[in-house]
């Protein structure tokens, strides 16, 4: 209730705000679900009145010729730059008697002006004589009783009157229409598929199943690249956006009921900016549409008749020619229809030899009508001198608009050949097994003798197609790249060693200690202490930047202080060097435990010396 008041208030304010600039206008359109009905059969009449910028009085049409079995009225508002009020009057009518009835125009009173709708002519036949609507689906829509209003929201798939070739759905549905339901065989039927959606599309719809058109020759009528525009149309009083999805020409190839299959489409509808309803993907299936192809009427050829409107022109590139010289006969068929059905036959002419024709087509669609040009060229060789008449080239065509057969042909042509008669060419039989002698009229061809020896090689796959070939090609550059990487790595290592001598010395010291451990296992005390002493001197040399072997222990200690070593480290290094010198000659130094301890101490001191940061240098 509150919501209704708010909406009313908004409308009043909006009307007030726009009344100064409002321009009163209206349109009225009257449509019927069928204009060919039988006595007693109900049909639907709909009058849609759009009024912009004000109020209007609608005077419905006079329906006294029919029995009104139901009526309905729906109104909707739409706010654009101006307020638009759409009123849909729906009537369910039933004809009382047969005949041709004109439903007069409805009138819309706009102030002092009167707007009129269109009129409708309804042909009423005897009871049971109504024809199916051309584009109706296999299960035609059944008119709704007046008291049962369609509720498409509650029941998707509900039939809606006036909507043929579709299965109604409140969110989105497909409609397939054909421009004629009973075409002749070979006559163009234009098939159009529309997509109806409530919400705007957020992306282009994906057609997952094209409408099948078996027993038709088809051609697309829409350009490959086009914008998908929509117009708004009301269905059952609900405004839908209608998109043109597909349009193609279908030419029936045989008489009888032929079905255009149901298309299927995935639609992503909704706006990204709609906070209440996010875009969703919908899958929709259309309905198949049946056309009843009529056989071509009597009066045409037994077979090969063509449907459409055409004209034929023919020409020779030369009208005088020597015998044995070829002339080109060109016939051009232009018009509307399925040009690929057109057959032009050149009858045999005594004294002229015609080669198989060359056919070129230029088929296009002009305003949804398929047509174009078919060009047929024959090479004609006069075999004897004389004057020849090339008969009129043409064919029988059925014009569906006029409903008559007519002969379409170009005028006859004349050709004069001069010279001597030429010999009949040899027949060139393709049967290789039987024809083992050269054609009699040809000069013998000289070939070299056959080869009597052969290695009888077997078929071999190309070397470049073998799986190993790409690897063989890739191997050298890969090896080269690996070599380059290896060299780069080695250079980097070398550069690193040059930048940090301590690391190399540490490595060398560790090797010496390993040597010492082997000596310890062998009980070689001298070897153990020599290795420990040498390892310490090596790392000291690297840290001091000069050999430590020529220095006294006091000098070593002083230099370590200078380098930034604390008193404990310098003292321990000197003590260890001193104890190594002493242990070489002492009895206690031979003890395995003592040797092992010495090596461990040396290793620990090496690590500490390796980590020593010279003074003035940030770690």
């Amino acid at each position: 209730m509150v919501r209704t008041r708010i909406v009313s208030l908004v409308c009043v304010l909006w009307l007030f705000a726009t009344s100064a600039s409002a321009q009163l206008s209206a349109t009225a359109v009257m449509t019927a679900s069928s204009t060919q009905v039988a006595v007693g059969d109900p049909f639907r009449l709909q009058l849609e009145v759009d009024v912009t910028g004000g109020n209007a009085h609608v005077q419905p049409p006079d329906l006294s010729d029919f029995e009104v079995v139901g009526r309905d009225q729906q109104q909707s508002l739409e706010m654009g730059q101006q307020l638009q009020v759409t009123t849909v009057f729906s009537y369910t009518l039933r004809a009382r008697r047969s005949g041709r009835f004109t439903i007069p125009a409805a009138q819309v009173q706009l102030g002092s002006r009167t707007i009129q709708s269109n009129t409708l002519v309804v042909q009423v036949g005897a009871s049971g004589s109504s024809q199916a609507n051309p584009s109706s689906p296999p299960q035609p829509a059944v008119p709704m009783p007046d008291d049962v209003k369609p509720d498409p929201w509650a029941d998707p798939g509900t039939s809606v009157e006036g909507l043929n070739g579709a299965r109604f759905d409140g969110q989105a549905f497909l409609q397939t229409t054909v421009d004629r339901a009973d075409p002749y065989v070979g006559q163009q039927v234009t098939v159009t598929v529309y997509l109806y959606t409530r919400a705007p599309l957020s992306s282009a719809p994906a057609i997952t199943q094209q409408p099948s058109a078996n027993r038709f020759w088809t051609r697309d009528l829409l350009p490959q690249n086009r914008a998908l525009d929509a117009h708004v149309q009301r269905v059952a009083g609900i405004p839908f956006r209608v998109y043109l999805l597909l349009r193609f020409a279908a030419f029936p190839l045989e008489p009888g009921p032929l079905t255009i299959g149901a298309p299927e489409v995935d639609v992503r509808a909704g706006s990204l900016f709609d906070v209440f309803r996010a875009p969703e993907t919908l899958h929709r299936v259309g309905v198949p549409v049946v056309v009843n192809a009529q056989p071509l009427p009597e009066g045409g050829p037994a077979q090969g008749g063509v449907v459409g409107s055409y004209r034929v022109e023919s020409s020779l590139d030369r009208h005088q020619v020597g015998t044995g010289d070829a002339v080109t006969l060109t016939a051009t068929v232009t018009g509307f229809g399925n040009l690929s059905d057109v057959r032009l036959e050149l009858p045999p002419i005594d004294g002229l030899r015609a080669l198989a024709p060359r056919v070129e087509d230029d088929i296009h669609a002009d305003r949804d009508r398929v047509g174009g040009t078919r060009r047929v060229e024959w090479l004609i060789v006069p075999e004897r001198p004389g004057s020849y008449t090339i008969p009129a080239l043409g064919f029988d065509a059925f014009d569906p608009e006029a409903g008559t057969w007519q002969r379409v042909e170009a005028p006859a042509l004349h050709l004069v050949a001069a010279g001597n008669a030429i010999a009949e060419p040899p027949s060139n039989s393709p049967d290789a097994e039987d024809a083992t002698s050269p054609p009699a009229a040809e000069e013998p061809i000289r070939f070299r003798p056959i080869h009597v020896h052969s290695e009888l090689l077997r078929a071999q796959a190309p070397l470049s197609a073998s799986p190993a070939f790409p690897y063989a090609l890739a191997a050298p550059p890969c090896l080269f790249a690996l070599l380059g990487l290896g060299l780069l790595f080695a250079r980097r290592r070398k550069e690193q060693a040059a930048e940090d001598p301590g690391r190399a010395a540490l490595k060398a010291g560790k090797k010496l200690l390993d040597k010492g451990r082997h000596a310890a296992k062998a009980g070689d005390a001298k070897g153990v202490y020599d290795a420990a002493s040498e390892a310490l001197l090596t790392i000291l040399g690297a840290r001091l930047g000069e050999s430590a072997r020529g220095l006294t222990l006091r000098q070593v200690e002083r230099k370590l202080y200078d380098l930034g070593a604390d008193e404990g480290l310098a003292r321990r290094v000197v003590d260890e060097l001193e104890s190594c010198d002493f242990a070489r000659f002492s009895a206690a130094g031979v003890e395995p435990r003592e040797m092992e301890q010495a090596l461990k101490r040396a290793a620990a001191l090496m690590v500490r010396l390796g980590r020593l940061t010279p003074q003035g240098v940030k770690p």
């Binding site: 056919v359 060789v381 061809i445 056959i450 052969s454 063989a472």
Partner: protein, 262 residues
């Protein structure tokens, strides 16, 4: 254990002997067929000779001498499209085969004469497209082997140049490297031409005159005709028909029996 091993060895020897004898028998059969065909040809029995050579072909033999003989046989019996096909095949298997080249020229000349007699005038394409003509003297195997060799040589030069000390040697290798790279590119291009990498579809020869249809169906509308010995590109196949592209921007379908693919 020892007896089991002996049994296995004996079985392996028996299998090898059986396979060897089968291969030998097959080779003997092939040789016998070849001799039969040759003798039939020399005795003037052309039909028998062609039948027997075709049997060898059906058995999987793709030999330049066999192709040459078939080309000669078909040429002399007036089937010039088939002759062109077999001579072309012989030349693709053994580029530079003078006999096959002369046979091909003779067959093409005869086709031109035949067309001129039939139509009053005729143009016959005697040379393949320029790219194919440039690589025609080289076999695919040679080009493939050269590609691998040039590839290895190029990178070997680059490696050696790094270790060579002499200035002259370094300059020489610096000049050689781009030259070898150029040869490698040319060789790979030739290989691509041989394999038809730059073209749509395989190369084929029209074997017999016939109609070119709009669709893969003998009831389809004829779009024109094809002439024996014409070169074509096979764009596709459907049922017993091939979709061809021919000179003069002609497209259409023709029965497989009318086409020999190279």
């Amino acid at each position: 254990m020892t007896s089991l091993r002996q049994f296995g060895l004996a079985a392996a020897f028996a299998l090898a002997a059986l396979l060897g004898s089968l291969a030998s028998a097959s080779a003997q059969d092939m040789g016998a067929l070849w001799n039969t065909a040759t003798h039939a040809w020399l005795a003037g029995d052309r039909a028998q000779a062609i039948r027997t050579w075709e049997q060898l072909r059906e058995a999987g033999v793709r030999d330049p001498d066999l192709e040459y003989d078939l080309g000669t046989a078909y040429g002399e019996t007036g089937h010039l499209g088939r002759a062109v096909w077999h001579f072309e095949t012989a030349l693709s298997l053994r580029p530079g085969d003078e006999d096959a080249r002369m046979g091909l020229d003779a067959a093409r000349t005869a086709i031109g004469r035949r067309l001129a007699q039939r139509r009053g005038e005729a143009t016959v394409l005697t040379r393949p497209p320029m790219g194919e003509a440039m690589v025609a003297p080289f076999s695919e195997r040679l080009l493939a082997a050269l590609a691998v060799a040039f590839d290895a040589l190029l990178f070997l030069i680059l490696v050696v140049r790094r270790y060579v000390r002499g200035e002259n040697a370094r300059v020489g290798l610096a000049v050689a490297a781009p030259l070898v790279a150029l040869l490698l590119c040319a060789d790979l291009w030739g290989l691509g031409v041989k394999r038809g990498v730059f073209e749509h579809g395989a190369t084929a020869i029209v074997l017999d005159d016939g109609p070119l249809f709009e669709g893969p169906d003998p009831r389809a509308q004829a779009r024109g005709d094809v002439t024996e010995g014409e070169r074509a590109r096979v764009l596709g196949a459907e049922a017993d028909f091939l979709h061809l592209e021919l000179g003069g921007d002609r497209h259409g379908w023709i029965g497989k029996d009318h086409i020999g693919q190279l």
